[in-house]
Amino acid sequence: MMQPFKVLKAKAAPLDMINVDTDVIVPKQFLKTVKRTGLGVNAFFDIRYNEDGSENEDFSLNKREYKGAEILITGQNFGCGSSREHAPWAILDMGFHCIISPSFADIFNNNCFKNGILPIALPQEQVDTLMEEAKNNPDDLLEIDLERQMITRGNKFKFEFEIDPFRKHCLLNGLDDIGLTLQKESAITNFEKKRSSDKPWL
């Protein structure tokens, strides 16, 4: 059972880079864990920390004004590269529950939904607006209403977003895919019987 996602009202942090790949999100040395938790402290490791282990002050997510942010605003093709689910685990563990970008890599996008993170793809101009807002007014809260598919910032603006209805349903209710699929046990068994007779070599 995942935590349901309904309305999120939180600070938004800018990560103004394109093509942020999963090697950047979680460098390989942190993939050796056998757990899902505890990855947040090492997220974005190579660009977040200096050689001596201190925080890189130029890295936006290290700035004090973005502590406690739960929404990440970033550039196109976010999450490209490896299928490692450690990437969304790490982002979630940092405290982010929603990522907004012009586009996401396919596997990463899937992995977000499996972990209760909402990835929202918006047109470039709207992401640019949110990016500027996050940079200039870091303390303003952004409200993400999943039921209404709406992003609002006080009276400043309202953006609608698209989401697959099935995924929306699962997120709103915190549903576990495996539990849902196992309710279809008889359909799977029937499929397997037909498969064995049609394709005996499998």
Binding site: K32, S82, S103, I178
Partner: protein, 466 residues
Amino acid sequence: MAPRTLYQKIWDDHVVEQSGDGTCLIYIDRHLVHEVTSPQAFEGLRMTGRKVRNLGATLAVMDHNVPTTDRSQPIEQEDSRIQVETLRNNCKEFDVTLFDLGDKRQGIVHIIGPEQGFTQPGMTIVCGDSHTSTHGAFGALAFGIGTSEVEHVLATQTLIQKPSKTLRIAVDGKLSSGVTAKDMILSIIGEIGTAGGNGYVIEFAGEAIRNLSMEGRMTVCNMAIEAGARAGMIAPDETTFQYIKGRPMAPKGEDWDKAVAYWKTLASDEGATYDKDVVLKAEDIAPTVTWGTTPEDVVPITGCVPSPEDFDDQNKQNSAKRMLEYMGLKAGTKMQDIEVDVVFIGSCTNARIEDLREVAKVAKGKKVADKVHALVVPGSGLVKAQAEEEGIADILIEAGFDWREPGCSMCLGMNPDQLKPGQRCASTSNRNFEGRQGRGGRTHLLSPAMAAAAAITGKLTDVRKL
């Protein structure tokens, strides 16, 4: 019935159930498992008291973490050792077939599937690894999944999916001499970009694709993910059937005939349409190398490092500046003037027997440049044995290459094979991301023949001139 594409045929054949909004439950024929993306999935099964549903469809191997040096010693790095042992214990507990470290069949997960005949046309194949797209070379629908989905497949042998859009990339004509499958896929990614395939399944077609061996086709499909595609695939033909025939897990006897008859129905129908079409001319493709830190940043080996101003898009300009700095390159430098410290020949992209033959052809009778460390890491124990039998290993060792045990090695630096900060590497792998091969390491992607040439001269080199 309306004409269908290869992708649509395989999709239709695997739908267990479809709901009103188009979401489907699809059956998974083959599931490959490795040590990095599976521990949390097995843990999930254990916590819920679930079992692996179809053991015959599941095959595990360790590859990412394994050292490529002496196998008789225990793994030194503790976290790597724990991950490898965790896979071993999980396979034992859940009865999953495992090619363990001492097994000759052990190797990179995307090399061993095809090698064993586990990978076949018309199948749905998944693995918790993005380069699962490799298996699409057989006319299978193969794609990478995350750990939650690994658990989903282990427990139910299905996945919840929506159909993808289709993109046909045709490479017409014939490749010039010295130009390989790797150059072809790098050029394709350069053309459509790393997000060009987002939301699509790519079918590679055209004369130049048809003329590729299975090894070459695997190289092309392997990197479909680097163009952002969900999967890459190539229609099965005689080349495919000949490759599979007689492999340990391939259909036998009467089953073989039935399977081939089915496989022959898979190619896209005449008149089938795609959501998007891209056509390239094979003769326009030169030996290709990357200069930046995404696989779309390619130039012909005869070209120069580009300048940020060469790009129209502001985001790409900023990103190019950052890449040049990371790569330690100046705009306008000739690619052939770039010196390398390390050469890595291996990975699921280019560690099959044909790749090693190409390397041996270039390296025969020559010597690796003094300052270069050149590693050759065969894709599996069986590739290694074959290369030793064919005399390839002797040629390479004689030339000064470091001949290793099979594994993912320096493709991703999860094991002791890593670049040091600032080191520059000519690599046959698939990703040139920042830090991918080791923190601060600089990667240039290229073909095995080009990598061999770079090892000999110590610089990026046009293999056609060597």
